[in-house]
């Protein structure tokens, strides 16, 4: 069985801190979401995951962008880079990098949900025939994604999974299960291309998208919930998963 082999502290050098599990739920209305999915080179993929997680076969890179028109912290755009994985037998994606264009949202997402993100300029465009997003940080283009040939899907065709990210929490250093509730109002599938990907800008040298799988877009209401489960990063999820209520 392939198992992640990097300590969480090494994978996420600037771990955010969640001071309390108690947060006021936040509802984000009218969010446009785009996500491109590419197989990534599989060699030594275990080094991008902590020991609690297992890579999928093949490993799938997920590059997503949210365009949030309004929130308690104002409008923001959030770009994330995740790697598909398993926590025990459950499908998950591990957050490898995140960028955001709103400082207030950046602070709140970090302190309440442990979603750390670096500041970036994010361009987001969705038209009837195409969509795209570009992310640039510290004067470097981090990613440039183009999506073409939209095909409408039934809402039930889209299945969204919880992601995992590292944080210092009231329970200690943990993998945090982030599982928003999505009310999807419209969704479509695209053919994706990644015109530019700078792994260094995401601090993930050695990982590259190699084979386009698909992409999807959605118009959603997103409920940011209280964190319910965390997982010890150093042991398998069957033994290391903890309910926050029990903490």
């Amino acid at each position: 069985m392939l198992t992640g082999n990097s300590p969480l502290e090494q994978l996420v050098p600037n771990l955010p801190t969640i001071a309390s599990w108690e947060v006021d739920p936040v509802v984000l209305e009218g969010v446009e979401m785009l996500q491109a999915q590419f197989e990534v080179a599989a060699r030594n993929i275990e080094r991008f995951l902590p020991p609690a997680l297992h890579p999928t076969i093949p490993p799938l890179g997920q590059w997503s962008c949210w365009d949030v028109p309004d929130s308690p912290w104002g409008p923001f755009r959030l770009a994330q880079f995740r790697l598909s994985c398993r926590s025990g037998a459950r499908p998950r994606a591990f957050l490898l990098g995140s960028m955001i264009d709103n400082e207030d949202a950046q602070k709140n997402l970090s302190s309440k949900w442990g979603l750390t993100a670096t500041h970036a300029d994010i361009e987001f465009l969705r038209n009837y025939d195409a969509a795209e997003f570009q992310v640039a940080a510290a004067d470097q283009l981090a990613i440039d994604v183009k999506l073409r040939n939209p095909e409408s899907l039934a809402i039930s065709d889209l299945q969204l999974f919880a992601s995992m990210h590292g944080a210092n929490t009231p329970s200690g250093l943990r993998l945090v299960q982030f599982d928003p509730t999505y009310e999807v109002h419209r969704t479509e599938r695209y053919l994706p291309t990644i015109d530019h990907f700078n792994a260094n800008a995401w601090h993930r040298e050695g990982i590259e998208p190699v084979y386009a799988v698909t992409a999807w877009g959605a118009h959603s209401t997103i409920h940011l919930p209280n964190i319910r489960f965390v997982c010890r990063p150093d042991i398998d999820a069957f033994r290391g998963t903890e309910s926050v209520q029990d903490a």
Binding site: M1, L2, Q37, E39, H54, P55, T56, I57, P58, L60, S84, R86, G88, A89, R90, P91, L153, A154, S156, D157, L158, Q159, F161, T187, R189, Y211, V213, T214, W216
Partner: protein, 365 residues
């Protein structure tokens, strides 16, 4: 009630020191024993690229070896992937006919469409179309077997008139099945007059619901072949041991290893949103409720999953009686996963099953 053994040919890492060869040859030894002790069918899957979970990419070769070293056990493709990027339908018909000849008419042909992106993506197949291509395969293969010369103008393939050779031994042709994973596929099987080869383990209640509808629909079927196969098979795990605590320990390890290897595959729905795949995973091992120790075997501290053939012979007879009461015609068993059970114990489990369980379900009894 018929009994089968079912092979994924799972191989634990590291893939070195002849481990793949050991898995193949140990499995052939198990099949020879299963033939001797009274099992009815050996099934082998077709999977590609599924590291650890299944190294069974050429089942027709494996089953040929099985057929050549046994006398009576039937050999089942469980199943041929009916996706043209993986198998041309003419080649499926040809290879199956050869296997039917070499086995002296012991072939069962299962059909499937693959459920993982790992496989479909590897062959650059379009997940949106696999249901349609499967349908075209199952409608044409029986004609290739039974018509002297065959021609076809279709969507996934076309061919001018040719004699597809050889023809199978069984008349009118070998029984055909569909692997059933997603709920609803059993209805596709029923409508076409095909057997339902369950490859997803499920609890009694779910299986009962599916069976009832299958039985109703197949009465009204428009068969794709020259004969209706109205059998329903279900998948199970087998570990039989006179020591029920040892049975529980190794049997639960079997389910756990299988489930973990399975869950690390990249399922189509996870990678590629499509209405063609309604279910995320293809198997939910041990999905049923776990009985309390008191329910399972009073006085003993063991925990056995509902409906699984794990335990001592008496407990396994009891479990199979429940499957029989639902109307299942055949129970197929996985015997090992990732080599978590030593070969001698697998063989002993088969012997015990043959000696103490099969006689309870023989036609005479």
């Amino acid at each position: 009630m018929k009994f089968g053994i079912f092979y994924e040919l799972s191989v634990p890492r590291p893939f070195a020191n002849g481990i793949e060869s050991k898995v193949y040859h140990d499995s052939l030894q198990q099949i020879r024993l299963a033939d001797e002790v009274g099992f009815d069918t050996v099934w082998a899957v077709e999977h590609h690229f599924l590291e650890e979970y299944s190294h069974c990419s050429a089942p027709e070769l494996f089953l040929t070896a099985a057929a050549m070293s046994t006398q009576r056990i039937r050999v089942g493709h469980g199943a041929v992937v009916c996706v043209p990027e993986m198998n041309h339908p003419i080649r499926v018909a040809e290879r199956a006919a050869v296997l039917d000849i070499l086995s002296n008419g012991r072939l069962e042909l299962g059909t499937a469409r693959s459920s993982t992106w790992t496989e479909l993506g590897g062959f650059q197949a379009d997940p949106d179309t696999t249901k349609k291509t499967w349908d075209e395969f199952v409608r044409t293969i029986p004609k290739m077997w039974t018509e002297e010369r065959f021609s076809h103008q279709g969507v996934c393939f076309s061919m001018p008139e040719r004699a597809v050779l050889p023809k199978p031994v069984q008349q009118p042709h070998p029984p055909m099945w569909v692997t059933v994973t997603s709920p609803g596929t059993e209805l596709d099987a029923a409508d076409r007059g095909l057997g339902a080869l369950g490859v997803a383990t499920a609890g009694f209640a779910e299986q009962e619901r599916r069976l009832k509808e299958y039985r109703r629909r197949i009465q009204l079927c428009d068969p794709v072949g020259s004969v209706v196969n109205d059998q329903v098979a279900t998948l199970n795990f087998l570990y039989c041991d006179e020591d029920i605590e040892e049975a529980a320990r190794l049997g639960n390890a079997l389910i756990g290893h299988f489930g973990q290897a399975n869950s690390h595959l990249l399922f189509t729905r996870e990678a590629y949103p499509t209405r063609a795949y309604g279910l995320l995973a293809n198997i939910s091992p041990g999905g049923g409720r776990r009985r309390t120790p008191a329910e399972t075997n009073p006085g003993q501290n063991v925990n056995l999953p509902e409906g699984m053939a794990i335990g001592d012979p008496d407990r396994i007879v009891e479990v199979i009686r429940e499957w029989e009461s639902l109307g299942v015609d055949q129970v197929n068993f996985m015997l090992n996963a990732l080599e978590c059970i030593p070969q001698e114990k697998v063989l002993n489990s088969l012997r015990l099953f043959g000696e103490h369980v099969i006689p309870k379900f023989s036609t005479d009894s």
